[in-house]
Symmetry: C2
Subunit: 469 residues, 2 copies
């Protein structure tokens, strides 16, 4: 616990360093304690808006000296309380560090500050013929996406953040700044520190620069939606498309309830049935070939026909609907908060996992629309809960526990892309057992005083609670 | 140093565990101290051939108890002394653990023991419609390939080992067995231990199982060679192909001297000029489109025309020639050993790096044919040295140092795929500076007594020599 007296002293020193960019204004603290999910707000004691890596380094040194926890913060779109200030402490809001530092168009890479969001980055890339494909839906910051190993709708074609980060600059817990790799496309130079910090949720250091792979803007893009008579037909189509080796760029599943939410939210008129959203990237001939193959797979499964979005405007409208599923889902039950699940299973087990889960939702009397990156075997339920109804929350948590158990039994993971945060600590232990001890040993080695986003991913000592507050 | 008295005692206990699969026969020790490169042989004190993970666990516990170094050994094809027994100790030869444990064709993944070689694996996959694409040339073991983060000719299309290992089973230095991940295609469940052990060269634990991604056997494959008037035209063609986004499966550069070696070794009649070897994978229409685009880029650069290998036999002959460049290169100077360099630079800097290097080779009076995975910016020189000529070896080492400095100045790495081993320890310090301290901290946390392949990648304590012998 951070005593207020010491916070006052630290605040004075921070003000000396960065002036008004260190603040204890209650509105700002409150805004940095909230998240988009159901977790209770946990505001920090102070928020600082650094301008560069050297400021981050000096702030981290001050925290190391005083034992104050540090919670890095990007766009605030994480879903597992990943940036909650469990023990109070200092929130490092990285949003002022949002510049493109070096674009290497010939090498298809870019070096950015971590506070830039994916949409800001793509806006700056528009005229280069290149783009950054990772799309988790929300307009998350690149640093936050790296920290949760985010993926989203295009991972099936372009990989996740682990595949698209070439190198990082990181401020370690003792204030040293390291670079994890050079700009070469591949390297066997020692331990893969890049991949260690990607997905570490800020518990091993503060990311101050990210070098990303970029991809050529596809020459042609086809998008389509296809409704199905039932969920199984939709899922089997997705599996068939992947197993045929069609290099689909996106293949997203929405169940009938989610389609109802999307129609209402975005004023659209889609059929309210289990639906796949497709996108194909390539040369005009290549895209036509891919689309034809996918249509044939869908027709075999009783698909009710492809509706094409041919103009950029139609396409953007189609995918905006998909990107807004969180808000569209919340619209199905005004006043509700969402508990968002994130299991991911081998694709051959997906039909079984989804059908057992559908039955469980019904038996649990929960409202839980489905949206899934089915090409990767990853799907989300938005369990819509009344935040004032303790019995319902308990019922939802019990359901979530069964869902994870089911996914693990099918050789899957409790989280495909949202991270462990504070919400899935016990699930991680179930999933990886003694491997979590190896993670603890690494954390202890790189952050011996446990100041870097403490209480996330695992409890540093067995038997410890999620928070010391 | 391991005292012989204690080796006798350990040998007795090993014999009790595994019988004749523990041996001190001089021929076996000698065979496990050699490598394909120029490094002096460093044989272990004992070689053990374990049959399963539980035996590995018991052997590791014995070594932990007695402080005996453990060096995991696969096919012995590494090039940087990665499996040299610098301090003697116990060599774990994994070649008996070469079974396929579980093939999941629907999910396109396979779980194997680490001793299986890539050719053994692909032979077993032949009738499944799937294949494992990573091809470092030599018939390396999968465990060894994971440990050096190997890549090779198809990385430009299919990625490296870091992209194709889904999960590992690892015996840690204290004898505990962990699994780093589940079988799901993606996960955000805690630190990416999979990627930490991939490329760790056996310094953090012994890999006992590997779960690999597989890929659909391409419907159509086109292969071709194209000679160029000079090296720059060949390299600029490779750069142009990559930058056009053509999803080429392989694009390999051989310089004129290397072509002479290949012709002599494989009794072929290729033009002895800088040459690109191409391969395209896809649907028949897609492959024709890719090949046409690449031909146009080559023609723009003055390429001397594509020669196609159309039948599987011709294709296999073409790529066998490429795969044997190490032996073909050695044939250019009978009795020589090869010092193999491995720098990798951003592709936009490749022409500059190669042309400066060509001049340096000449000025250094070295014989050094070039073979490169130019699509990734990675190339090798086989510096052919007389192992008895100390002056020439010193000249070659000085040249290698300048090559690495040049690559680092161009934002590249000292090793694209061979690893650091014992040969590039100082280069790693130059390349990553204080990041190497973070690697040391991780090593100390997971292997506090430094028994796992000691002396590789970095010196555990500053100022320490590469070997204590």
């Amino acid at each position: 616990m951070t005593a207020h007296a010491s916070v006052d002293g630290i605040m004075a020193r921070l003000t000396g360093m960065v002036g008004e960019r260190a603040t204890r204004a209650p509105g700002v603290l409150d805004g940095h304690g909230r998240s988009e999910a159901y977790h209770a707000p946990r505001p920090p004691d102070v928020v600082v808006f650094p301008d560069d890596a050297d400021e981050v380094r000096r702030i981290v040194r001050l925290c190391a000296e005083t034992g104050m926890p540090i919670v890095p913060f990007g766009a605030g779109t994480s879903l597992e309380g990943n940036a909650a200030a469990l023990d109070g402490g200092l929130c490092l809001d990285m949003t002022r560090m949002n510049r493109v530092l070096a674009l290497n168009a010939e090498d298809m890479d870019v070096r950015v500050q971590p506070g830039i969001t994916r949409k800001q980055l793509n806006a700056q890339l528009r005229d280069t013929g290149l783009f950054f494909p990772i799309d988790p839906g929300a307009d998350a910051s690149i640093g936050g996406m790296a920290s949760t190993r985010a993926s989203g709708t295009m991972a099936v074609r372009y990989g996740t953040m682990k595949d698209n980060v070439l190198a990082l600059e990181v401020v370690l817990a003792d204030g040293r700044i390291i670079r994890t790799a050079r700009r070469a496309r591949k390297s066997s130079a020692g331990y893969d520190l890049t991949r260690l910090f990607v997905g570490a949720e800020g518990t091993l250091g503060v990311i101050t620069e990210v070098t990303l792979k970029l991809h050529p803007q596809p020459e042609a893009i086809f998008s389509a939606v296809c409704a199905f008579p039932d969920l199984k037909a939709a899922v089997d189509t997705a599996i068939g498309v992947i197993q045929s080796g069609i290099p689909v760029a996106r293949i997203e599943l929405l169940d009938a309830m989610m389609m109802r939410g999307v129609n209402a939210f975005a004023k659209l008129g889609h059929r309210e049935a289990p639906t796949l959203f497709f996108e194909f990237h390539g040369s005009p001939a290549g895209v036509a070939e891919q689309a034809g193959l996918a249509q044939a797979v869908a027709a075999d499964q009783g698909g009710l026909g492809f509706t094409w979005a041919t103009t950029p405007e139609e396409r953007s409208r189609l995918w905006q609907a998909r990107d807004n599923t969180l808000y569209a889902g919340l619209g199905l039950r005004p006043g509700a908060r969402a508990m968002v699940t994130d299991v991911c299973v081998p694709i051959s087990r997906l039909t079984e996992c989804l059908s057992l889960t559908a039955r469980d939702i019904e038996e649990s009397r929960l409202i839980a629309p489905v949206v899934g990156h089915v090409g990767d075997g990853n799907f989300h339920l938005l369990i819509l809960i009344d935040p004032a109804d303790a019995e319902e929350i308990a019922r939802a948590k019990a359901f979530h526990g069964r869902l994870v158990e089911r996914a693990l039994a099918l050789e899957g993971t409790c989280t495909g892309e949202h991270g462990i945060g504070v919400g899935k600590i016990d699930f991680l232990e179930q999933e990886l057992g003694e491997a979590v001890d190896a993670m603890r040993a690494i954390k202890q080695a790189l952050d011996p005083h446990n100041i870097m986003n403490p209480g996330k991913i695992f409890r540093q000592h067995a038997g410890e609670g999620g928070s010391r507050r």
